[in-house]
């Protein structure tokens, strides 16, 4: 294993400190926590908090800023942060309007957030949780993981909250976005956890793992590596099954950490062409590393079925380290 790091057990701290050091005007780290918040909160708005295990950078701290998140909670690599960390984030961003927690669907994340919600409730802070489960690779809907589609939910929800919408309204739109977002991924190489030092699974040179999550867990199918065109088709076939016909689309092509941008755009090109061939209207496309899995090579595709409301919030201004428009 070769990694740019010092003590592997301090890698998350190093990341958080580095992120704040490089963006002092915009971000701060809450003392004695692994919570990153906006340096200045916009008054009288619902707080938007997300978080989860580290290893998915720029998610989630890279999305803290005007028009998106108020706070991001970072756990150890691939491990949900504890309930106390989520509680610190809730307390920091609540301004009396309540706090919405956007949580990827993993047992640990959901349990810790539920505990934090109970503690916040005891302090008189209203909270709501919306669970993101965009990964169609998992057929049992209850077990579906939250992957790259999460950032689209964060973007849209954050833009709405910025307008001063109520907690109830923000939750409604977050849930609607979740319902209209679907993703699926392939890995070409596994990832290596800094504290473990060995690849998360073995994958032969000529093989790819289809339907992986973002934690180096095994996928649902393993097969020979095929061309970008064929990968685009494979993923689209699964995703489109659950996307209503006619609706315009937003596309997110997400690199998993070690896939060069040149390859990401090749896949984006193939994906857009195939969607156009099916008469699907791709209104917005985003290409880049939005939700990674350490040093995994691979890619995920996400489609979001748009209506006017979602399209408006997707295009709204945003000022975060990672996403600026």
């Amino acid at each position: 294993m070769k990694k740019l790091m010092n003590d592997p057990e301090q890698i998350v701290t190093g990341f958080l400190e580095g992120l704040v050091a490089a963006n002092r005007e915009q971000l701060q780290r809450l003392e004695d926590t692994d919570v990153i918040t906006r340096r200045v909160l916009k008054p009288q708005k619902v707080g938007i908090v997300s978080g989860g295990g580290s290893g998915h950078e720029p998610a989630h701290a890279g999305y803290v800023g005007a028009g998106m998140l108020d706070a991001a909670v970072a756990g150890e690599v691939f491990t949900s942060p504890g309930a106390d960390q989520f509680l610190s984030a809730i307390q920091a961003v609540d301004q009396g309007e309540g706090v919405l927690l956007l949580v990827k669907n993993y047992n640990g994340d959901v349990m810790n957030v539920e505990m934090a919600q109970e503690m916040a409730e005891a302090e008189g802070i209203s909270t709501e949780m919306v669970i993101i489960n965009d990964d169609v690779a998992v057929s049992d809907v209850k077990q579906r993981r939250g992957i790259a589609g999460t950032v689209l939910v964060q973007k849209i929800t954050g833009a709405l909250a910025e307008t001063g919408a109520s907690l109830k309204e923000v939750k409604r739109v977050a849930e609607k976005t979740v319902n209209q977002t679907r993703s699926m991924s392939v890995a070409l190489t596994p990832c290596t956890l800094p504290a473990v030092g060995q690849p998360s699974f073995d994958l032969a040179d000529e093989e790819m793992e289809v339907g992986i999550g973002i934690h180096g867990e095994r996928g649902v199918d393993r097969r020979e590596v095929v061309t970008s065109e064929e990968i685009a088709k494979l993923l689209l076939d699964h995703i489109l099954e659950e996307i209503p016909e006619q609706m315009p689309l937003a596309l997110l092509v997400n690199g998993m950490g070690s896939t060069p941008l040149i390859e990401q755009y090749v896949l984006a090109n193939d994906t857009i062409k195939q969607l156009e061939k099916k008469d699907r209207d791709v209104q917005h496309a985003f290409v880049g590393e939005y939700m990674t899995s350490l040093d995994m090579a691979g890619i995920s595709l996400t489609l979001l079925a748009l209506d006017e409301e979602l399209s408006g919030y997707l295009q709204a201004p945003v000022q975060t380290v990672q996403w600026k428009q």
């Binding site: 295990g53 993981r145 956890l193």
Partner: protein
């Protein structure tokens, strides 16, 4: 069990988990993301570091403190599950300085209830509950038989190997999860084996 024995139990558990850190992570490799050993080691290390600071706590408060430390330092799914279990034991042992007879079964059943609620899980799902639940049942009204408790924990742990995992990332494997022992069940077995060791040493 008095507060000093509880501390001894926690120290021994921490040492045991640290010794088996890689084994637990390797087991987790098959079902999850391969970090159960690292996470449990980190959590119990924080507990042991806290023990000196928590010198004057009652048994009940100590258990609560252990619970909240595990939630905070283990993280993931194991953190809230182990944390809730210790917090519930602490609540059940309020005002009790020495856990005996029925207090054991009361504390352990509350812990089992807590794990089931928090994890929305039941026995047979191939989780740590499959160790905690038979252990709770092995505490009967009288004074505990530590050999029975240890063997209940062992059997519970072994049984997870044959189960189709229904909770956590292992559940994504469906039938393929059969043949893999649950890492949370193994760490729970170590916890109860060290409890038995501590208590047996006290009897001698």
């Amino acid at each position: 069990m008095n507060v000093e024995q509880a501390k001894q139990w926690l120290r021994q558990t921490s040492a045991r988990l640290s010794e088996h850190k890689d084994e637990l992570s390797t087991l987790d490799h098959a079902l999850g993301d391969g970090d159960h050993g690292v996470n449990m080691h980190r959590g119990f290390q924080a507990v042991v570091e806290g023990l000196d600071e928590w010198e004057d706590l009652s048994l009940s408060s100590l258990m609560q403190k252990v619970g909240s430390t595990l939630v905070s330092k283990v993280g993931g799914a194991a953190g809230p599950l182990y944390g809730t279990a210790f917090m519930r034991m602490g609540a059940a042992w309020k005002g009790i300085e020495q856990v005996n007879g029925s207090a054991w079964s009361e504390g352990l059943s509350k812990a089992v209830e807590g794990i089931a609620q928090r994890g929305k899980t039941s026995t047979g799902d191939g989780t740590l509950l499959d160790v905690w639940s038979p252990v709770a049942e092995a505490f009967t009204e009288g004074e505990p038989s530590w050999d029975n408790i240890e063997s209940a924990a062992y059997k519970g742990m072994e049984a997870t190997e044959e189960m189709v995992v229904k909770k956590g990332r292992g559940a994504l494997l469906g039938e393929q999860s059969v043949g893999h022992i649950d890492p949370g069940a193994v760490s729970s077995y170590y916890l109860f084996q060290e409890l038995a060791n501590t208590m047996k040493a006290g009897e001698q």
